[in-house]
């Protein structure tokens, strides 16, 4: 039982400290689960973070699940996932409840517009970062522009657009892979 309580406390703490996402969270995980608890090694954590970002779903939940699973199997993964999300769950409901009455105040309303444009800037920043990993070939530029155009300027459901683009991207990569294999055979 002791280990689960320890996991509960550690992941709850991580959930309380996980501001900013991405690299900020890596630093916290490094300190808590690598240095203090030694549940995973630094190399394992690097691997976990890399895989977390390629899987669908919430990156933070992916990494918590994987750490919990390595330490204590399915139950460990469950404890890690639930407790790491618990602070967010409680705080957003509490804060929303407290702040909601003030959001119609003109000054608060203006501050919120400002914050949302700040978030927009953060999103544009992640466009830049994602561009570096997503675009390796001119065909990727075409796919990215197509996806942006369909999402911004048409009413096609976002799920459909994503599935279409995923299929195109998959087909394109397989095509290039086959072409490469063929050339490889010809050389030999």
């Amino acid at each position: 039982m002791g280990i689960y309580l320890e996991m509960f406390i550690t992941f709850f703490k991580i959930g309380c400290l996980a501001f900013g996402g991405g690299y900020a969270v890596i630093a916290i995980l490094q300190k808590e689960v690598v240095e203090l608890k030694q549940w995973v090694t630094n190399d394992e954590l690097t691997d976990i973070m890399a895989i977390s970002q390629t899987l669908p779903g919430i990156i933070f939940v992916n990494s918590a699940t994987m750490i919990g699973y390595r330490k204590k199997g399915l139950l460990g993964a469950t404890v890690a996932t639930i407790t790491s999300c618990l602070p967010t769950f409680l705080l957003i409901l509490l804060l929303t409840f407290v702040i909601w009455g003030f959001t119609d105040n003109p000054i608060v309303h203006k501050a919120f517009i400002g914050i949302l444009l700040g978030v927009t800037a953060l999103i544009l920043n992640s466009v830049k970062k994602t561009w570096k990993t997503a675009v390796k070939h001119y065909s990727d530029v075409i796919l990215a522009l197509l996806s942006a155009a369909l999402m911004l300027f048409t009413n096609i459901n976002v799920v459909l657009v994503l599935l279409l683009l995923a299929a195109l991207g998959f087909a394109k990569n397989i095509y290039f892979l086959k072409k490469e294999e063929k050339q490889h055979v010809n050389v030999h």
Partner: protein, 184 residues
């Protein structure tokens, strides 16, 4: 009962399909809550603003709030759990079969192939958070408010990308609140 099932299925779907995580999930939340008439965009973006001072993934902020709004505390729990289930299952499976998974060329072709689409999702998220609420309030793109909004978002991007002064996320968010009060 059917509300709970609806919530569960919708958030399960979002969790399963949201490649790219983070802000790239915003278009999915927006599409679903508007089409189900659960929460208005004007209310949802308030939650996104509040979420900036709440730790943890903002997807959980979104599921907790939307779930709560639709069906109270039980709704919040159902939406959040459903959202996490696909991540959980995928992560457990990957941990077991990582070596085979890493070497599989079809898996790689899919994971790499979907990345350019994430760029579209992110740009769409930038529009939904930054400009769409203003458009819904004024019904025009040709206004001073809209111009100020675009300039502020772009200026914010350059502040984040300059190397002279290191700006933490909290400082940045606090500064944008102040600029918002002065500018709008």
């Amino acid at each position: 009962m059917s509300t709970f099932i609806d919530l569960f299925l919708v958030f399960l779907k979002i969790g399963a399909i949201s490649f790219g995580g983070g802000y790239a999930m915003i278009p999915f939340f927006e599409t679903e809550m508007v089409s189900h008439n659960w929460v208005s965009l004007a209310d949802y973006v308030k939650v996104i603003a509040i979420a900036q001072v709440v730790p943890g993934p903002f997807a959980v902020d979104s599921s907790s709030y939307i779930g709560f709004k639709v069906a109270g505390i039980v709704g919040a729990i159902i939406a959040t759990i459903a959202l996490c289930i696909p991540s959980f299952v995928a992560s457990v499976i990957i941990t077991k079969f990582y070596t085979q998974f890493k070497a599989n060329k079809y898996v790689n072709a899919l994971l790499k192939g979907v990345r350019p689409a994430v760029l579209g999702l992110l740009l769409s998220a930038a529009y939904i958070i930054g400009l769409k609420p203003l458009y819904q309030a004024t019904h025009t793109f040709m206004s001073l408010t809209m111009l100020k909004a675009v300039i502020m978002a772009v200026a914010g991007y350059f502040v984040l990308n300059q190397k002279k002064v290191k700006v933490g996320t909290f400082t940045f968010i606090a500064a944008t609140a102040v600029v918002g009060i002065l500018l709008f």
